[in-house]
């Protein structure tokens, strides 16, 4: 598993971190089972396993199609136990808006009560951010609506380096976009690829036909064709990019969408490929498929009004996970002493691409097995007493937070927050999505700067600060997304190679595979904030592989 994860991450992960992750992964399962997560069982009472994207053996423990959700509920229940015990104090509906740094050390946060609007400092001896990923910079992603980068970005502005921001995972099995008002893309469990076969028509003229009318010989099972040994179970980045390639070739399926390409040319494409279960249904029977994937099929039908037992599903890639994040060392500590970052919010374990089921694993490993040890170590040397609320560092942080809120509310322009966010999302998806080019990225940086200026001139944030104000919340998050988006493009621009979730069209093999440049880019790009409008400063952390040999990833 150690090897799989390093390889899946396209040799851009820190080897030691992955090793640790792999070694505690068994403990995670033990812990979760003990906490009451109902993993699937065999009749003998042992835990059941199945295979998952990017691995050839059945080694993933699962809980129907909702493993992640069940692990979350398990962790939530364990958390509530601590709340009842009095060891954890919960602040529901609070949002961190600023980090308090005193003498270069993280000493607390400033949070806004999202119900009353009250801005309060919370001082502490150490701060842990477990604030998730920033996929919503693309507006449309499979992330929940509330996901944002604000906590991580505020820490970045206060001096924490931001690692590998351009590594974005595009998940292959999502339900295609239906229209302009879409707010959110829906991910279907990757487990579907275990039994479903992905194909597009061989001939572009077949694309408008009912898929059931297309004979077997006119179907192109492109993943099975190109990657005979892994077939439909290739890692996510590859599955996604190939789906995009097929659609770019004009062999996509589903409704026709008008798109404007980088040259300003408008053309029509279909964005979707088929995920076909007819073989699985004839092999396992409808009941067999239902037992395995029933809930996913129901979900698909509910969203699209098509019955996947009858018609093949249509899927298309969507932003799902961000491998980048706040840079942390082996102890998960950032460049600001006393600030620790865990889970998706940090950059540490996945390199340029993440394998199936390992986001949960990383989050749980960080929280259960890493931080409890590393924080203790930090605290042993740092006990400076309570930081009073009237300390200049605290007051400054609180005032900065309030000033930004007031500034947002005072603009009273004409455009809504979401319209800006959608536009930013379009730019990011077009130029910093599945395929990136030097020209496109440069253009994107300019466009984002323009958009940001317009935002500060013309946004309309309704309501008042001292209220439950969702527009204000979104506006504040968008401010950070603008800056992050720009850094993502800059990072993507500087990394002149293709690896994992980062694919530069200039750097590919003749077969269209990602081409790495290990001699030049085998490092983590950790960016330092250089002030408003300043040029971010690049720091390089070389990646040294001692246990695993660096080689071209192959899933053929």
């Amino acid at each position: 598993m150690f090897y799989d994860t390093v390889k899946g991450g396209d040799y851009r992960a820190r080897e030691t971190n992955v090793y640790r992750l792999a070694s505690v992964s068994g403990n995670i399962i033990d812990q979760c089972v003990a906490q009451g997560v109902p993993f699937a069982r065999e009749y003998g009472g042992l835990l059941d396993t199945r295979s998952f994207g990017g691995v050839q053996v059945q080694r993933t423990f699962y809980a129907r199609g909702q493993t992640g959700q069940q692990l979350l509920i398990g962790a939530y229940q364990a958390l509530e136990r601590q709340v009842a015990a009095g060891t954890v104090q919960m602040f529901a509906r609070h949002e961190m808006l600023e980090l308090i740094v005193k003498n270069g050390v993280a000493r607390g946060i400033v949070a806004r009560d999202m119900v009353t609007g009250e801005v309060t400092p919370y001082t502490a001896d150490a701060v842990v951010l477990a604030t998730g990923g920033y996929g919503n910079v693309f507006f449309l992603s499979t992330n929940a609506m509330g996901c944002n980068v604000t906590a991580g970005w505020r820490a970045h502005r206060k001096g924490a380096y931001f690692g590998n921001p351009c590594y974005t995972q595009i998940h292959p099995t999502c339900i295609p976009v239906h229209g302009d008002n879409q707010s959110k893309l829906t991910l279907m469990s990757e487990s579907l690829r275990n039994d479903g076969r992905i194909w597009v028509p061989k001939k572009a003229e077949d694309c408008s036909k009912d898929p059931r009318q297309i004979p077997e010989e006119d179907r192109d099972y492109y993943l099975e064709r190109i990657y005979p040994s892994f077939g439909n179970l290739v890692p996510r980045d590859i599955a996604s990019r190939q789906a995009k390639n097929m659609c770019d070739e004009g062999r996509g399926v589903g409704p026709v969408i008008k798109e404007v390409d980088a040259d300003g040319q408008e053309h029509e494409v279909r964005r979707g490929v088929y995920l076909d279960f007819s073989d699985a249904i004839s092999r396992l029977g409808k009941a067999g498929v239902e037992a395995k994937y029933g809930n996913l099929f129901d979900m698909y039908k509910q969203i699209t009004a098509e019955d996947p037992y009858e018609v093949p599903m249509r899927i298309y890639p969507a932003v799902h996970y961000t491998m980048g994040g706040v840079w942390v060392d082996y102890d998960l500590e950032t460049t600001i002493p006393g600030l620790f970052v865990a889970g998706e919010a940090n950059f540490s374990d996945h390199g340029a691409n993440r394998l199936g089921a390992s986001a949960l694993m990383q989050g749980l490993a960080d929280g259960y097995f890493v931080l409890p040890n590393t924080i203790n170590d930090y605290l042993a040397d740092h006990h400076d007493g309570k930081l009073p609320d009237n300390d200049p560092a605290v007051v400054e942080a609180v005032n900065a937070t309030k000033a930004q809120i007031d500034r947002l509310l005072s603009i009273k322009g004409s455009r809504t927050v979401d319209s800006f966010h959608k536009e930013l999302g379009h730019i990011m998806w077009e130029y910093c999505g599945m395929a990136r080019s030097e020209e496109g990225l440069k253009k994107a940086v300019g466009m984002i700067r323009e958009l940001k200026k317009e935002f500060w001139r013309d946004v309309n944030v309704t309501g008042v600060a001292e209220d439950l104000n969702q527009t204000l919340e979104r506006a504040g998050r968008l401010v950070d997304f603008f800056e992050l988006g720009e850094l993502m493009c800059i990072d993507a621009l500087h990394r002149r190679e293709s690896c994992g979730g980062h694919f530069r069209v200039e750097y590919q093999t003749e077969e269209g595979e990602a081409m790495r440049h290990d001699d030049e880019f085998a490092y983590v790009a950790a960016w330092e904030y250089a002030g408003e409008g300043g040029k971010p400063i690049l720091h390089k952390e070389p990646l040294v592989y001692k246990a695993i040999e660096l080689k071209q990833r192959s899933y053929k």
């Binding site: 033990d30 009353t116 499979t142 509910q302 004409s414 439950l468």
Partner: protein, 256 residues
């Protein structure tokens, strides 16, 4: 399609709210219900009005954050052909020209924070009272050391799918959270690792449920009818049985 919306507006801290009429046009039937509300909010913002506050997060029916009463049924179950959360209800379930009434969950234990947003921390406190297994990190034995019968762990799973959205409370004519509480209890009591605390758990959780001011269950079945995860009344029956049994057991004992 064109719709008339009657939406509950309640200022923060206000004791009462009222239904306000809104007209909305160009609603596509592929949109989800919340996307329709997004569109309304965009239009309201453009018109300089304060948008409608509502909760949502994952928008794929798994987090339990969203939830409003639509046309008198929680999550709009009455309009949907299948069990659903509000985010997974799609506009194709409605017709052009329809009038849709949208209200928040209403129960004493769920105070309205603003408009359609309610405070559901009461459910958290029910979990805090015992909806967990007391195991400290790092102390867990090997996962295979406890064998779990497959069908029984499947039953645990069925109950573990509860996302705590609160629709059961909203739909229950008595505003009871028994379906939620029983799902959590039934989840843990069907697992071998849930046994040691089994009877103490049910007592504490039921006690907290009552203390939060929820109503009592009268086996009507509205809760189960709107449950997006299909939790059945059997769970409540299981809880009842366990509570009775628990009275004949000393705390911390599984067998009398």
């Amino acid at each position: 399609m064109k719709l008339t919306l009657k939406i509950w507006r309640q200022a923060r801290g206000a004791a009462q709210g009222k239904l306000v009429d809104y007209k909305i046009d160009n609603v596509s039937e592929d949109m989800s219900f919340l996307e329709m509300l997004d569109q309304l909010n965009e239009e309201l913002t453009a018109a300089g009005e304060e948008p409608v506050a509502f909760d949502s997060d994952c928008r794929e029916g798994i987090c339990g954050t969203c939830g409003v009463v639509i046309n008198g049924t929680a999550h709009g179950r009455g309009n949907s052909p299948v069990p659903t959360t509000t985010c997974q209800l799609h506009m194709r379930s409605f017709h052009d020209g329809d009038t849709i009434t949208i209200e928040p969950w209403k129960a004493k234990a769920f105070p309205v924070l603003k408009d359609l947003v309610v405070d559901r921390t009461a459910l958290d406190r029910v979990i805090q009272a015992g909806g967990f297994i007391s195991v400290n990190t790092g102390a867990a034995p090997d996962a295979h050391s406890l064998l779990a019968p497959k069908l029984q762990s499947d039953r645990a799973f069925d109950n573990a799918t509860c996302i705590g959205c609160g629709a059961c409370v909203a739909a229950c004519p008595n505003a009871s959270a028994m379906l939620f509480t029983s799902a959590k209890v039934t989840h843990l009591l069907n697992l071998p690792q849930g046994q040691p605390e089994r009877f103490l758990r049910v007592k504490n959780m039921v006690g907290q449920h009552d203390a939060e001011g929820f109503g009592n269950c009268t086996n009507i079945g509205e809760c189960s009818a709107v449950c997006p995860k299909g939790i059945q009344l059997e769970s409540i029956s299981t809880l009842n049985r366990d509570l009775v049994w628990s009275l004949f057991r000393k705390d911390g004992f599984t067998v009398a």
